[in-house]
Each structure stands twice: as C-alpha cells, then as structure tokens.
Symmetry: C2
Subunit: 200 residues, 2 copies
C-alpha cells in the first residue's frame, strides 16, 4: 500500500508502541495540538487502526500523566526513606526529580503542559500528587530550617523555584552531550541546597 512508507519501524503495533508515539507527538505539539492521525503516522498506520490498541485520546493522556505523577511521588518517598537528615533528603529528592526530567523528558513536558487538560477525576488526582510532592519538598526545607541547617526565610519560594528549575532539564538535556543525566541531576541538587541557604 502507498501509505506504509511514511512512518517508523513496521513491526507489530501494540499498546506500548501507541503510547510511545503519543508521548513523542504530545510532547512536541501539545495534547490539543496533536491529532490521532499524527500519532498514527509515527507508526506508519492510519488513525482508526490505533483504536485496536487504545480506548481514546483522552485516556492516553490520562495514563501518561497519572503514571508520571505517581512515579514522581514514589521517587520522592524513596529518596526520603533512604536518607536521614533534611539536608541529605532534600539533596536526594531534588536529584531524583531532576534525573527523571533528563531521562523522561517527554513525560515531563506533557505533565507540565497538559495535566490541566485532563477530565476532573484524573486531573484532580494528578494535581493532588504533584501538590503533595511540592509540599513534601517544602517540608524538607522547613525541617532543615527548624534544625538550623538551612537559613532561608522563604521555604515555599525555594521549593517552587527548585522544582521548576528541574523542569528546565527536560527542555535542553541531550543524552548525547558531554554531561550525563546523573551529573546534571547532582549539580541541580547542589543548587537546591544553595537556594535553601544550606550552611557549610
């Protein structure tokens, strides 16, 4: 057929590959700017064929955003559980958050831009998870202030600024560059401590 040339690899299509193509398309032009035809084109098929592997465009976004938001929260819990002081916990929490933006940039861009486009139940759950994450980070900063290790007078400004700083990684980090994702993540974790006014 004449249309099998446009897309990517011709292998078997399944839910995972549809999700993969949606990640790329949604990240590039946004959820509302993407058509299912564009997603299908990445796989070398026509739009209706996608519906053998997924329920709806809305549900595709929902799965991407919720899975990502849940992973962000789990990463945070792991970082806090692994470390013992507010200072080390903040460093670990920011490191893992920045790292995720380097290793999963499409998911990060989509959550940031399109989470509010979800239908209310999923939207509420996603925003609650992200809010919980922000409050968790802020709580670590407040704990560090309480025990005298952090000097900041503005824990909320620090946490908002730190988290958004990590978002930048998803926009410019290139795995092929000369710095690894792990190195970038540690550098940004260091910045978080400086912003919190960590005393040496």
């Amino acid at each position: 057929m004449a249309q099998s040339e446009a897309g990517g690899p011709r292998g078997t299509i399944d839910a995972g590959r549809v999700r993969e193509a949606a990640l790329t398309t949604f990240a590039r032009v946004g959820f509302h700017g993407s058509s299912m035809g564009q997603v299908a084109a990445l796989l070398g098929v026509r739009a209706p064929s996608l519906y053998n592997h997924m329920a709806s465009k809305d549900l595709l976004l929902e799965e991407i955003v919720l899975a990502t938001a849940e992973q962000v929260w789990r990463d945070f819990e792991d970082a806090v559980r692994t470390e013992r002081t507010p200072e080390r916990r903040l460093w670990a929490a920011v490191r893992v958050y920045a790292l995720r933006h380097a290793t999963h940039p499409r998911e990060a861009v989509i959550v940031n831009r399109d989470a509010r486009s979800l239908a209310p139940p999923a939207r509420d759950r996603a925003l609650a998870l992200l809010r919980r994450h922000e409050r968790g980070v802020r709580g670590l900063i407040e704990a560090g202030v309480a025990n005298g290790r952090f000097g900041t007078e503005h824990p909320a400004l620090v946490s908002f600024g730190v988290l958004e700083m990590c978002v930048s990684v998803a926009k410019w980090f290139d795995g092929g560059g000369d710095r690894s994702a792990a190195e970038v993540a540690e550098i940004y974790a260091d910045y978080a401590l400086r912003m919190a006014g960590a005393r040496d």
Copy 2:
C-alpha cells in the same frame, strides 16, 4: 464604527479588550485548547464579532508572543546597561525577568507553552529573541567567572535553571498575597547569584 455608541450593558469592545480576553483564555487552556467562542464569551459577544477587531486567531497569538519576547529582551538590555559589574548585572537581569513573570503571568505562560505553535517566521523570531536572552544571561555568568566573582563550572546549567526558576513565579504568584512582586523578584535574583557561586 456606527455601533460604538449605544448604551449597551457592556463596555465597548476594541482590539485591546479582545487581546485581554485572549490572554486569559490562552493562558488557562492553551492556544490549541482555546476556541474563539470562549474568548468571545469572556466579552459577552459571539465569536464572529471578534473579527471586527482582529485578523485571525493565529495573529493574536503571534502578537502576544512577539510583544512579550521583545519586552523580555528590552528588559534585559536595560538591566545590563544600568549596572556595571557582571554580578550586579546578573542580579538586575534576573530580578526584572522574575518581576515580569509576577506582573504578566498570562503572557509568560503563553510564551512558554505556545511559542512553538507559531507559524515559522514569527516562531523563528520569538525563539531567536528568547535564545538571545538566555545567551545574554549566560554571558553575564561567564563574565563573572572570568573576573573571579562567580565560582560555577556550569554557566549554561545555571542560566537554564535560573530562567526556568523564574517561570515558576507566573504559576503561583498572587498579587494579593503577603509578598510583593518586587520582593519575590529580588529573592529569586539572590538565588541566581547563589547558583552562580557568587563569593561574598
């Protein structure tokens, strides 16, 4: 023309009010997620009426994004011109950038989310201005490293992180809160110096 007199229940509609309504709508649900009907509804009219005051939805976005990007660059130039050292210039440049995000949050959100949706000529110009701004900020950091005032080994990571940190202000700053836009902007300018490794 002939219709601008009648004492209707609503004020007169002009290009400025259309732009104002578009700013609110685009910022809330994104350019591709907004319909001209939603913009019109904010003004209490029907969608076709808007076209007496504007050319197209695309041009509306173009004007918003280009005007904002140009102002960002002018603010930067003014900050650099006013100050004499890399350290003071960086502080002033970040302060004014953060301030703009506090005072013009809708424009900032739209530029961040939808600049890439512009048609190529306008898109190229907008992205060039923003890239120029980022390179300007990075240049100040490099200048401070060169004269020994900044200790960072990663000027690009600092500039990307600092600029994105300022973007956070557009998302949470509330003029009615207890901190003024100017105070928030100065706090974030301080963080920029810390991230750059300013020596005291």
